[in-house]
Amino acid sequence: MKNTFSLIFLFFGILTFSACQKEKISLGTNIQDLFYLDNQGAKMPILVEGNMASGIIVLWIHGGPGGTAIGFQNDADITAFLEPKYTVAYWDQRAAGVSQGNTSQLGVSLYAEDLKKVIILLKSRYGADKKVFLLSHSWGGLIAPAFLTEGSNQGMVQGWINVAGAHNYIKNDSLTRDYLIQYGKEQVAKNINIARWQDIVDYAEAHVPDYTFKTSSGLNLCASTAEGLISDINPGGSITDIFQSKTAFSFFAAASNSGATYFSGLNDRIMYAEYSSKLSLIKLPLLCITGKYDFTVPRGLADEVMQKAASVKKKLVILPHSGHICMSQEPTTFYEAVIKFVEENK
């Protein structure tokens, strides 16, 4: 019995010793660092992978709200295409992915503040000379302009890669509805999946965007269903990707955080969020990428960013065989465009 207790205490002793946090700062060509930003109650993980010797950090601002960069975006494609050339920083936002802690009310300005501090932290750890490019997807496309249109924040980053960015939620819903009706009617006329397209068209016609999350999520669901009916979209980017084993990822933590975001009321509040009126403040190099069949965040939003942003260098890339998760559906074209943009603006 004495031996049993000794073994138990030894076991706990080893575990306690191992509990010490170890700071690891790597600067090589194939690094993998994990650290946290603690801001206003949230401990947000930042997983940094790739080639730090390049001096370039591509900071991924994931979708959602309540998604994950560490668990979803950090896939085989980005590892193969982007990480050998640059460093990629996968930041899990508050109440998302594997972030931990508690927080006051979630709001876009709080996420923008987090983003600013993530950039300061990256430059503090790896050197102020490191060039940061923002790569935002979907809901991340609301956080990015919230950050970029504030004060002198644009001076902190080298460029913005806006992938299917939702910078104006109510306009997003209107465009989704219009696209569903227009494309759906075309499919019905062509006798393709008539019953299912007709259901989508009927639903969209009956639900006019009204600043409520209920209508918005209903249209969003139709958008996902619509993408599932189009055979021209390349496979990839399934939600089941998050079940794959990933570094520093926990499925149950991510699921709990998704629940936290869902029940926080954030989805209702962001219905009124829009940065259309502030896009003219954006002057840094800009790349907009969108999928031809993206019903969730239709191309019209990218067109508006292209039209209103004051950037001298700006480019729009439409991926012809993609929906909303275009980085996984056409990874070669997607990452070629990203690399070209970074090389031209680094």
Binding site: L15, D38, N39, K43, V98, Q100, S250, F252, A255, G259
Partner: protein, 224 residues
């Protein structure tokens, strides 16, 4: 933190069922006796696909019901139900996520059938402190970066464990009483004003320490 501790103490108080308040149904043919029960201890190994840890606990038997049933052939069959209260200290390590320590009160409801099959359902409630596995930084509003020491979070933790195992008859000093495999669902609050869940498995052993005895209540029931 104080509030959490007070909350846990109050909940612990409610979890202790008075011995006069008999939740195990009694009839006029039943006998209740006061018994001396040894202090109980438990040691467990916790594991899931991405975490590993352990748990130790010390407990007290609150009450026990022994049902004696006689078959037509005159054979006696005994079934035992027990209620015990444990204080447990648990730890698990989830690489690249957190170290998690928890201190909890566990109300173990167990039964043993005539073949020694042991089953248990045990709700628990307590406090948990997590420690991040990697360096954590704070950035002030004017951009000053500082490293945080012992970064992590306090949570109220609760949940349940349930499982099956083997009960060994007449344990002696230091001897093993049960071995069981259990499923545990642990929850943490507040996780961004919501609940975080952590399922894992547990291999549990319970032991008796007869040198240290406490009072308990035993009800003996005879059924024909």
């Amino acid at each position: 933190m104080k509030k959490i501790l007070y909350f846990c103490l109050i909940m612990l108080h409610f979890s202790i069922i008075s011995e006069a308040q008999n939740a195990l149904k009694m009839t006029k043919n039943d006998t209740i006796i006061a018994i001396k029960s040894p202090i109980l201890t438990k040691q467990s190994l916790l594991f899931s696909t991405n975490s590993l840890g352990g748990q130790i606990g010390v407990g007290k038997l609150l009450k026990q019901r022994e049902t004696h049933r006689f078959t037509k052939s005159g054979q006696e069959r005994i079934k035992t139900k027990s209620r015990a209260l444990y204080a447990t200290l648990g730890y698990y390590y989830q690489p690249d996520f957190q170290h998690n320590w928890s201190l909890a009160a566990e109300y173990a409801m167990s039964r043993v059938n005539r073949k020694g099959l042991y089953s248990e359902f045990a709700p628990f409630l307590g406090v948990s402190r997590t420690f991040l596995t990697a360096t954590s930084y704070s950035v002030s509003d004017n951009g000053v970066v500082t490293k945080d020491n012992l970064a992590g979070n306090w949570y109220v933790t609760g949940g349940f464990s349930t499982g099956l195992g083997k009960h060994f008859e007449t344990p002696k000093w230091g001897s093993l009483e049960t071995v069981s495999a259990k499923f545990v669902l642990q929850t943490f609050y507040p996780n961004f004003k919501f609940i975080a869940i952590k399922p894992y498995f547990q291999v549990q052993t319970t032991w008796e320490l007869p040198k240290f005895e406490t009072n308990a209540q035993k009800m003996i029931k005879f059924k024909s």
